[in-house]
Symmetry: C2
Subunit: 204 residues, 2 copies
């Protein structure tokens, strides 16, 4: 097996190089988009040579896959267990605070994540790498909805969760480009939207 992420014996130096290369990839992908970004530019941005890049990553796609995997890992760490089950019993507004705020902070702190997530023209391999990130938000919301409204038919509940996630993602471009001054108002309005959408579905 030539799996770059598990099998090879890595030195501490190598692990650090991989992190630098992923950081560089995040920058370049965020600035130019995945398709237009060149692997030579990623290597240069990391202060490495093309040969070094390809010692750690099989090909261009593998760079984005590893980057996405790292983002998913950090997303889980950032707000993973924190609200998984406990927030479902909170009042709706408080629950939204607990769910939205960390995601907004994460997305704004990681524009490379947003660049990959919002790109609709990724290859199937990359689309698969995106799925866990999308599933993370969907499933957590779905589980919260299930606990808050046990009588909610699972099918309709799944769509409600999916629509809610897409509503949030629709406002993400505004949230990403907002300056610090405009952000709180936008986030508040985002929560109002979700509250207005979810409230009647949670207590009919």
């Amino acid at each position: 097996m030539t799996d770059d992420t598990t099998k090879r014996k890595r030195q501490a130096r190598g692990e650090k190089r991989m992190e630098e290369l992923l950081d560089a990839a995040a920058e370049v992908f965020a600035a130019q988009g995945y398709a237009k970004a060149s692997t030579n530019a990623v290597a240069a941005a990391a202060g490495a040579s093309p040969g070094t890049l390809y010692q750690f990553f099989r090909n261009k796609e593998a760079i984005a896959e590893a980057l996405m995997a790292r983002y998913v890992q950090r997303l889980r760490a950032a707000h993973g267990e924190a609200f998984d089950l406990s927030v479902a019993d909170l009042p709706l507004a408080d629950m939204l605070d607990r769910v939205i705020d960390p995601i907004v902070a994460f997305d704004r702190a990681n524009p490379g994540f947003y660049a990959l997530l919002s790109d609709p023209h990724l290859s199937s391999g990359l689309a698969n790498a995106k799925r866990p990130a999308q599933a993370l938000m969907f499933e957590q919301l779905d589980r919260i909805l299930a606990k808050r409204a046990p009588d909610f038919p699972p099918e309709a509940r799944a769509r409600t969760a999916e629509v809610a996630v897409h509503l949030f993602r629709g406002l993400l471009p505004l949230i990403m480009s907002a300056d610090e001054a405009a952000l709180p108002g936008l986030v508040a309005e985002t929560k109002e939207v979700l509250s207005a959408y979810l409230a009647p579905r949670l207590s009919p």
Copy 2:
């Protein structure tokens, strides 16, 4: 001036070729995305040679600009004057029917339009070409809001319109990939979302 769209003396044959090339560009852009699409592929999809393509379009960017301009023109024709002023007095649900349905139909009928509109990594020239299309929806909604709620402060009204447009665009991926059977329910839910968001802002 070497402006391809206005100055050059075009024959009927040439105009037809341009339409064919734009149709081909729409296909290729929708399938692969603008960045990954090659001009040779566009020419081939139109049954033309690269040389022929470049007789009508200065460069790759000009193809997308012309395509976007054609979409804006068709968008105006499709639902332009139809509801511009009259729908503002309708009940909210009826107004949304009149606004949403034509846009949904147009977007689904023109995946090339959606491909360009949803691409967040276009060059500045392309971003400028996108602006009229975005302004079209925003300004029409803003004008409707102004007529329905004259006391609405213009600043807050503008943001309400912008947020509403982004909410719709957030659900567009679902709408675009839905099959004919699932579409009506999705569109209905889209209208419910917008209704729930706009209603309290229109009659406080």
